[in-house]
Amino acid sequence: MGEKKEKETGIGLDLGLFDLLRNFEEIELEDVEIELGDLELHFQPGAVVAPPKVLAPPKLKPTTILEADFVPPVEQYPGRIGEVQLGATKSEGGSRGKTVVIGGATSPAFYMFERPPPHPPVVTLDVFDTKVPLPKAIRMHVQEVMEDPAEWAKLAVEKFGAEMVTVHLVSTDPLIKDTSPADASKTIEEVLQAVDVPIIVGGCGDPKKDALLFKKIAEVAEGERVVLSSVTLDMANAGVLADVAKAAKDHGHIVLAFTALDLNQARELNRRLYEFLPKDRVLMDLTTAALGYGLEYSFTIFERARLAALMGDPELQHPVLSGTTNAWAAREAWLKMGPEWEPRELRGPIWETVTALSLLLAGVDLFMMMHPAAVRTLNEVIKQLMSTGKARPEKIANWVTAKM
């Protein structure tokens, strides 16, 4: 121990010496050149060199900046996230003008120094098939189209720049209007006519009703690679999961596997789906809780899922979706509060924005969103995060004295 220690100190000092000589005051070496190579000659391999006493840790103040190396801490991972194509063009058997590919990550979210993601995350805008209670901040933007899902979808694409739309068939809920699968599928046909972006079809959450609905939609939207949102373990328990998975496979669609903040359940549901579907037909939704109402659980579950997938867990290597609109479940997003918290018109959309951005950094690939300002911000941030090298230090170098 003693010998080894001395040796380390000796060598440590010899390398440190060069820096010390070069950069410290009170040791002045004029007209003397010392190369690192010269020094190394004195210390032969294996030789134990007692450090010269005079060079014992000097408490001298540096006179120039002591250089340190910085190497980006890049790592390799055995796993990668699969890619999933949403929507299909005419030549692919559908009728979409545009398709979207998500996934393919080989690093945690936006570790641009390591490996940029092959596909940027995407936002899909919510459309409802019936009048639903919406916060004022959102309602004001969609008031005109609230009874017309096809027009609503058009507005989302043409005015709000949506790359995808989600049609929530909430009216199919037995507790609401109990719209039949046949009638609901007409809505989907209209939306597919109205816009040429890929679509997600949302059910009502009742496993049996959704199974009937999804089977019908799968047929009607043959080949379109729509996303059926969502399939659950409840469907498995009700004995209808296989039907939906088979319909998705037979008619060329994607399923969104929804579980509630539990990676073991997510794995289990995926295993059941693998019996019927190839992996590139499955997306995962691990549950999004609103900021202030459990967002940290969502953040951590998405982050854990992404890291586990990169570490090689084959059952979690799917692109992930967040139902970010849930942010509006937080009363801080819509409630009238004291004057110091106004205006609500900003508080609401920033609530949705912060919910989305937190999950963007946890690895989410696809965001279901609602407020146009939140959507626009997310799209801008994604664009920014994809392009490194644009920082101009001079812009902020004097922020301390800047007028604001």
Binding site: V354, S358, K395, W399
Partner: protein, 477 residues
Amino acid sequence: MSERELKKGIKELSPIDVYMLLPRTNCKECGEANCMAFATKLVNREVTIEQCPPLLEKKYEKEYKKLREMMAPAVKEVTVGTGDHAVKIGGKLVMYRHEFTYHNPTPIAIEVTDEMPEEKLLHKVKKVEDFSYEYIGRDVNLDMIAIRSTSNDPAIFKSVVEKVAKATKLPLVLCTFDPNVMEAGIVAIKDRKPLIYAATKDNWRDMAELALMYNCPLTIFAPNNLKLLKSLAKTMREYGIEDLVLDPGTFADDGMADTINNFTMIRRSACRRGDELLGFPLMGTPVTAWIGEEAPKEVLAWREAYIASMLISRYADILIMHSLDGWVQLPNLVWRFNIYTDPRKPVAVESGLKTFGKPDENSPVMLTTNYALTYFTVEADIKSSGADCYLIVVDTGGISVESSIAGRLLTAETAAEAVKESGVDQKVKHRHLIIPGLAARLSGELEDLTGWHVMVGTRDSSGIPGFLKEKWPPKED
């Protein structure tokens, strides 16, 4: 590469390693049953080394030093301010939240300048002090004041620093790149241990002298230049300064990718590569969203708000911000609160009887668990239904309905006990109890134990409105 290899940078301590360095006399002075129990708590960061009095004796000097090294976090903890009003920043043990709790929630400093009219200045300081929001039964607040010298005049800066220090006990950040101005500011509040902002490649020697002379923590500012940032950290350490804060620059629009990249690379270097020179707290400055661009105030505040939230997620240990608007700060204060909770411990809410609206003797009685997420979801769904009702919150140790049934924390016995303790039988005439759909299997036994008629509700609380509409009031038997 296995997960274990990737994690090798984390201080993965075993209680045995720690135990071997303790006195092992089982003296109980720390309040634990024995040294092994104390070692286990040390590893879980539930106690500090200094709570073992014998360890502080001369004869254990070596062990004490070694333990301190062993327990040192990957990111150094730096204290700004003094006494009760000090704030600790950094002290992070891990990179990812699920690995271990994040320590020291990111304090937010609000900036003022030495050229603000006095009335405005004191008004803003007061607003920072008074800023408060009650969230899950706790107050969330702003934390610090950052004073910028825009005058670049030592005398002006000194007088404003004095004024602010007199007006508030909050910890202070002094911001100027001019060492003369900085010294004037520090001298005004020598006993307050402010954070110096900042040393740069141009002024580092003078700033280092000030940090040493007045024993203040020092920020290093090297925008988008990690090699320089690290070199300056090395230089400052050689200078004898241990309490450093690193600012790699915050670019709120162009350069945002570099900002997130830099924060991430620094934190990974500290946590995974054991890079001591980068193992210091990180400062983010969302305030920079306000410079260099003509845009409406709301647009800049909006940008400041969201870049702040991204930096809270990505490793900022302290932030300087400009806007005091409630809508800007509230999402950030809530997000900070959330992300700094213990990921292993589900947040629990208080158990007992809650009332919604104005319930009377005919109102429904429902039951759920005290897992915060469950509770708040149920609460939101009840409120959106507009129902007047009672909700019995069972203490399941902060576990959800499904998990607490599986773990036998929510049983017919514990539910029956909660019904009894709630005293709800004094408040309603009927004897109908609505339980979560996921707890259906408890219904028979629960009826036997309570004598109440149990109604099985929906599996998800979003079904509460529909359920009440259809099934309440219950039909006469």
